[in-house]
Amino acid sequence: MSSDRTTTHPLRPRPLWLNLLAAASLLLVGAGFYLGLVVSPPDVNQGELIRIMYAHVSAAWVCFLAVIIAAVYGMLYLWKGRPMDDVRGTAHAELATIFAGLTIIGGMTYSKPTLNTFWTWDAKLTLTALLFALLVGYFVVRGLIDDRDRRARVSAVVAIIVLASLPFNWMAAEWFRTLHPAKSFDVSASGVSDSADPIFRWILLFNVFAVAVTYVWFSIERIRIGRAQVGLEEQRETTPVTMREAIDV
């Protein structure tokens, strides 16, 4: 242990705005719940099940957003090689995985009462399942690489492939549905069509906004922790620094 180096606390002091963002996220989600569960009337076609839709669709959209952002940070990492871009990309990939999981749970919850089965080869559900598998692969690969730089590089590559496969998987899921006999329902923005009462759409959009704000909050918290981890690792590595002789031959 060298004491010549002042070890600073790796976690930066918590700024006020972050607490405000956290409070805002909680308030928005609470309001979203209230709007979805109490204010929203039952839908003509789906009845009370429209209430699941609000949460489900919000999770799905935010999940796609998170995948795109994770891949963008991946590209940034490959371009600039900044360790923080890896931290950011991973944070968004983690959130994408969580929201993909929530989307699947939402879809299954919706599917059980309507179709009396937990799983259905609905287009969006199939797509989300594939996406979930891709994201799990991302973390499996991460777990297998010890070297930090290589791990970051390979993660970035996988994140880009995940993004690239998104449109194809989207289409594949559509084809699968059109080819599969019967028993398909459209989970996407279904039931919130233009002809319906505009209140459904407004409540849905509000919920999407609330979940998106929460996602931003989570990602910032996760990146703060990641930054602290990187800081700690760097402190540990650079502790035994002594001035070395520069050799010239």
Binding site: T178, P181, A182
Partner: protein, 142 residues
């Protein structure tokens, strides 16, 4: 310079890929023929599997609960064929809905093993004596 050329090539290839995919997607991936199209050249399809699209003729549905055998007539208001399908009718299956069925003709009967229900809220079967709009029917089944 070389990097620049490869960059242009990459963008061009990606654009071509996008165009191909878009092109394929904009035409329908559910390919089928109408009963009247089959009637025009039935020998083209001898011993072949095919997909037949049309409306379920009102009053033709018979479902045998024990054998799980469904029979009905599929029609495009010009020609109509007797269909035998093994299996339960899907949820949305009813008179006048659009269907796409897969199978083959055996002695003038269409034996189907795959039945897809197509929502055709827009398309209405024509009244007696009205002209038949086959294009509209096709569009509604895609």
């Amino acid at each position: 310079m070389k990097r620049w050329a490869y960059g242009v090539a990459a963008v061009a290839i990606l654009a071509a890929a996008g165009f191909m995919v878009y092109n394929a997607m904009s035409s329908s991936l559910v390919y089928f023929i109408l009963p009247s199209e089959y009637a025009a050249n039935p020998h083209d399809y001898d011993g072949r599997r095919l997909r037949l699209g049309g409306l379920v003729q009102p009053g033709s549905i018979v479902f045998d609960n024990e054998d799980l055998r469904l029979t009905f007539h599929v029609t495009d208001s010009i020609e109509s064929y007797f269909v035998r399908h093994q299996g339960t009718p899907p949820d949305m299956f009813q008179e006048n809905t659009g269907v796409v069925i897969e199978g083959r003709f055996e002695d003038g009967v269409f034996v189907s093993d795959n039945l897809l229900v197509r929502h055709s809220e827009v398309y209405q079967a024509p009244e007696e004596g009205e002209p038949v709009d086959l294009e509209a029917l096709k569009d509604s089944l895609y």
